[in-house]
């Protein structure tokens, strides 16, 4: 077979090319030809096809994502914003923190263990590529119905994959979510987040500059796994008629990644690296074109020098392979030997595969012949941009009119009691410790808080006690009812969760999971969610620093609920002041902060008791969220509260049960005068939290709330070993514990 060189391509314009099989549309293929002034070579076609995929190019989402920049609030905290591998935030004392959430949805459905494992691997490499030591991971997960047989295939595999990879890397898993809903049956959402810490001066960027600098590929050898993962797997909907996509899923080796982390950090510490990029989606195509596109010059790569696991791979396959645990560094010539020495110390394969040139072309050679000659910007950054049509679906009005007000409510204490037990034992509200106990929380010795706390918290400076907190939240049900406010509710919940632990919210990352952008209704949900999130972040003063878009989460015509997952990062000056959720001290007073309205549409109660979704989600008041956060943070700093729990899914009663069980103490609760017991216990009004206040601090605390205008209601006292809602019902902790803790092991154990 003739090698399809640049020269050969120029002389054979009429050759049929497999652009459709590689996932390109006709007009995109024409555009490539126009850019090059000839047909692309096979290798060029491979590069454009993966880099112009939805997953890599954000071609459908770009026009909307711009709002995160345009509406970004003024902040001094942001050191690196959207567009790099991950955003970087200043947290004080010379420390910077980088964090990001990404999706690995499609591969995790096809092959749950490897899909989830390599999701962790990918996000961790993004963090290392910024110059940071990874210090924690979180995993927001969504599955189909808990009792569906396929969920028993997907969930245990995903959990084992996350544990198998993350535990072996030595990263504490400190948070995340597990949600069940039949809308995710054929499209589980496996999102993965990571946090890294560095000194300000250690920030690294993905750019290749300085002609003559060497391009070093290091880490695992390149194999045939994950070829075209970004284009043909992550950027299309599933369809039974097509052949199995398993070859497009990558296979992970966490041991190799652990070596890669240590070796990269050692090279950073010796200041050997000019620019760095990890190899994730689109592999070498992405790393070479992005490094060159971001830098000042061009790049020349000898593809023959890439170490291979399989010597029969074609140049196209080498460029498209998504083999894991690889990175690409740009190093000055005189530092190459030292760089290679460090790699050897860690038994990491490292090879110079090219160099930065003073031109502006990315040129790739195979057996001495030029097979790629492109302007790297056209591959990496100037891909197609679509203004996809979008329209509010006609069913939206009907859905919103179907309010939860029509649903039968519990009529007396006995019925309330029964529904409380049903709620806290439902798969979504039940304890997830069967899952989280498969993750290491303790490694690195800096974990202050981990699941099921409101947010995970990591100490980053043992001397001063400086720490960071991270929470991730999403509520696809709310977003389905109203994507604009649903996205804001996810932001508000995550923001509140961070504040509830005593940390000050600083910045946001997001993972936007939606159906097919080719469906105008889905595109409308997407546009609305982004508008809501951008407006919300502007109002709360927390910029979006980066994130990920996952589209095509749909099977046939059925799209998932629009599911924006929002991660909020916060900072705490001294982790000794952190607030846990557990009610641990008998006699402490319980206060409810915020306003409770009759808001049950989209609630956990409506789902668990009536299997109902309709109406409008709870009202959003971001000024109230900000005030609540300020109170929670002040109260934590000044020692006025010993426990706090945000109120979200399942309302007040869910929070009370969780805090009681965590602390092993009961509570006597009084429904405030004139309030409906059912609404008080089950409403999901936003902007609320429950706190446990030592008696000595009661006046100081309520005075502070009063002075700042935050509604505060005394609702009870920590006491005994029973949850007693006076005049309504009482349930022993042991009974609650059984209901809450036996559901998930009962299904999956």
């Amino acid at each position: 077979m003739t090698l399809d060189t640049v020269k050969h391509a120029a002389g054979t314009p009429d050759v049929d090319q497999p652009w459709a099989e590689l996932g390109l549309k006709q007009e995109e293929y024409e555009r490539v030809r126009e850019i090059l002034g000839r047909r692309p070579t096979g290798a060029e076609l491979a590069m454009y096809s993966v880099m112009w995929s939805e997953h890599c190019s954000y071609k459908s989402s770009k026009v909307h994502l711009r709002q995160f920049g345009e509406k970004a609030p003024e902040t001094d905290a942001l050191l690196v914003g959207i567009g790099e591998n991950a955003g970087v935030v200043d947290v004080g004392n010379g420390y910077a923190v980088t964090f990001k959430v990404e999706s690995h949805n499609h591969p995790s459905y096809v092959e749950p263990y490897q899909g989830a494992a390599t999701g962790v691997g990918g996000i961790v490499r993004d963090i290392i590529a910024m110059g940071a030591r990874p210090v924690a991971v979180v995993d927001p997960l969504r599955f189909g119905a808990a009792d569906h047989p396929d969920t028993k295939r997907v969930l245990p595999g995903v959990v084992a994959g996350i544990g198998g990879y993350g535990n072996c890397l030595g990263l504490p898993n400190i948070g995340g979510e597990v949600v069940f809903d039949s809308c995710y049956q054929g499209n589980p959402l496996v999102n993965a987040g990571a946090i890294g810490v560095m000194r300000h001066e250690d920030i690294h960027l993905a750019k290749a500059s300085g002609a003559g600098n060497k391009v070093i590929l290091y880490g695992a050898r390149t194999g045939g796994d994950g070829i075209g993962g970004a284009s043909i797997l992550a950027s299309e909907t599933f369809d039974d008629s097509k052949p199995s996509k398993r070859p497009a899923v990558q296979v992970g080796d966490p041991f190799q990644e652990k070596l890669l982390i240590e070796c990269t950090l050692e090279a950073f510490a010796e200041k050997l690296v000019v620019g760095i990029q990890d190899l994730g989606a689109a592999g070498l195509s992405c790393a070479t074109s992005e490094l060159a596109s971001n830098g000042s010059g061009g790049m020349r790569v000898e593809l023959d020098d890439v170490p291979l696991r399989d010597s029969t791979l074609s140049p196209e396959e080498i460029l498209m392979s998504e083999s894991q645990e690889r990175m690409c560094a740009v190093v000055e010539p005189e530092k190459v030997d030292r760089f290679l020495e460090i790699c050897e110390k860690w038994d990491v394969t490292a090879t110079v595969i090219g160099e930065v040139t003073d031109g502006d072309r990315l040129e790739i050679f195979w057996h001495g012949e030029k097979i790629v000659d492109v302007d790297p910007r056209t591959v990496a950054h100037e891909g197609p941009v679509y203004e996809r049509p979008y329209a509010r679906p006609e069913w939206q009005d009907t859905l919103q009119a179907d309010d939860a007000a029509k649903l039968a409510r519990p009529a007396n204490g006995d019925e309330l009691r029964e529904q409380v037990l049903k709620l806290v034992g439902s798969p979504n509200q039940a304890s997830k410790s069967w899952i989280t106990s498969q993750y290491d929380h303790f490694v690195q010795g800096n974990t202050v808080l981990a699941s099921p706390e409101d947010s995970g918290m990591i100490r980053i400076d043992a001397e001063s006690g400086l720490g960071v907190a991270l929470a991730t939240d999403g509520n696809g049900r709310f977003a389905k009812l109203d994507p604009y406010h649903g996205a804001q509710l996810a932001l508000a919940e995550s923001y509140r969760n961070v504040a509830a632990t005593g940390a000050k919210p600083l910045a946001v990352s997001d993972c936007l999971n939606f159906g097919s952008p080719e469906d105008p209704a889905v595109m409308w949900q997407f546009a609305e969610a982004i508008r809501g999130l951008a407006d919300g972040c502007q109002q709360l003063g927390t910029p979006v620093t980066g994130g990920n878009v996952s589209l095509y989460n749909q099977t046939g015509e059925a799209a998932i609920h629009p599911t924006p997952v929002v991660a909020v990062l916060g900072v705490i000056d001294d982790v000794a002041r952190r607030t846990p959720v557990a009610f641990a001290e008998e006699g402490q007073l319980l206060y409810l902060l915020g306003d409770t309205r009759d808001e049950l549409s989209g609630s956990a109660w409506a789902q668990v008791i009536h299997d109902h979704l309709g109406g409008l989600p709870p009202e959003v008041d971001l000024e109230r969220e900000r005030l609540l956060a300020e109170i929670l943070i002040s109260a934590s700093r000044d020692g006025m509260i010993d426990a706090a729990h945000d109120l979200s899914d399942g309302g007040l009663v869910q929070a009370l049960v969780e805090s009681c069980l965590k602390g092993g103490k009961g509570a006597r609760v009084v429904i405030p005068d004139g309030q409906d017991p059912f609404v008080t216990l089950f409403s999901e009004s936003a902007g609320r939290a429950v706190v446990s206040v030592p008696r000595s601090e009661e006046l100081r605390f309520t005075d502070m709330c009063g002075a700042r205008g935050l509604p505060v209601t005394r609702i009870g006292v920590v006491d005994g070993d029973v949850l007693d809602v006076q005049g309504q019902f009482s349930i022993p902790l042991s009974e609650l514990r059984t209901a809450h803790e036996e559901t998930i092991p009962g299904i999956f154990g």
């Binding site: 890397l169 041991f255 652990k258 860690w346 989280t436 993750y439 290491d440 303790f442 690195q444 010795g445």
Partner: protein, 226 residues
């Protein structure tokens, strides 16, 4: 004066920096040791920390056992140098036969991370002198290959000689025979256990207890008073 305690890093070791911190918190000097280096840098004792050395490929601890540093560790341990193996370090010690028995996959087949209650059965070893026999402590456990097994005769010998150093209480988290969480050699200088004392040395962090600090204060006192 203080003592120098070496902490070995194998490729894939995870708890080396945590162990160094625990050693320092106890007041000793932590000396990083590298697996390719036979030189123990004149340390007075060695800790083999937890992790997944060599990815646990082949069998947990099976490849690390052949690292150059282990030749010296085995030689010195036989001469009486105190050695502590935590989790993966315990697995390495059984592979070297400094300690008897082996670790299999947990009986429930999952990785398990939990606060674990233990009873200190032998407070006479180099690493447990600051505890009292029968004392109950609570320290984190996290592993997937933690099920301690040995043949009946070995188990009977361990029991008879008081060499079961720690036993799981309340819950046997992995199916270990006779609830064994950790053991010692006959001389009491080599100790291995699956739970992680180095993760229970500071209030607020991890479990919020300091029940694990005693391992490191025990060895420090022994070395300083020697």
């Amino acid at each position: 004066m203080t003592a120098r305690i070496g902490v070995i890093t194998f490729p894939g070791t995870l708890d080396d920096r945590d162990t160094q911190r625990a050693v320092r918190l106890a007041g000793a000097e932590a000396v990083p040791l590298w697996h390719k280096d036979k030189d123990l840098k004149q340390v007075d004792a060695v800790v083999l920390p937890g992790g997944f050395s060599y990815g646990d490929y082949l069998r947990a601890g099976a490849i690390s056992r052949f690292s150059p540093v282990m030749d010296t560790v085995i030689e010195q341990a036989k001469a009486g140098m105190p050695v502590l193996g935590i989790c993966n370090g315990f697995q390495v010690l059984t592979e070297t036969h400094l300690l008897p028995g082996a670790m299999l996959r947990n009986n429930h087949l999952h990785f398990i991370c939990r606060d674990q209650k233990l009873r200190v059965e032998n407070a006479g070893t180099a690493w447990t002198a600051d505890y009292t026999a029968g004392q109950e402590i609570n320290i984190p456990l996290k592993n997937i290959d933690g099920r301690y097994v040995a043949d009946e005769r070995t188990l009977d010998e361990l029991e008879a000689e008081g060499r079961v150093a720690f036993r799981y209480l309340d819950v046997n988290p992995n199916g270990s025979l006779r609830d064994i969480a950790g053991i010692t050699n006959a001389a009491g200088n080599v100790v291995g256990l699956m739970p992680h004392p180095e993760h229970a040395v500071e209030p607020l962090i991890g479990t919020g207890r300091t029940d694990g600090l005693g391992f490191f204060t025990s060895i420090l006192k022994k070395l300083v008073n020697a």
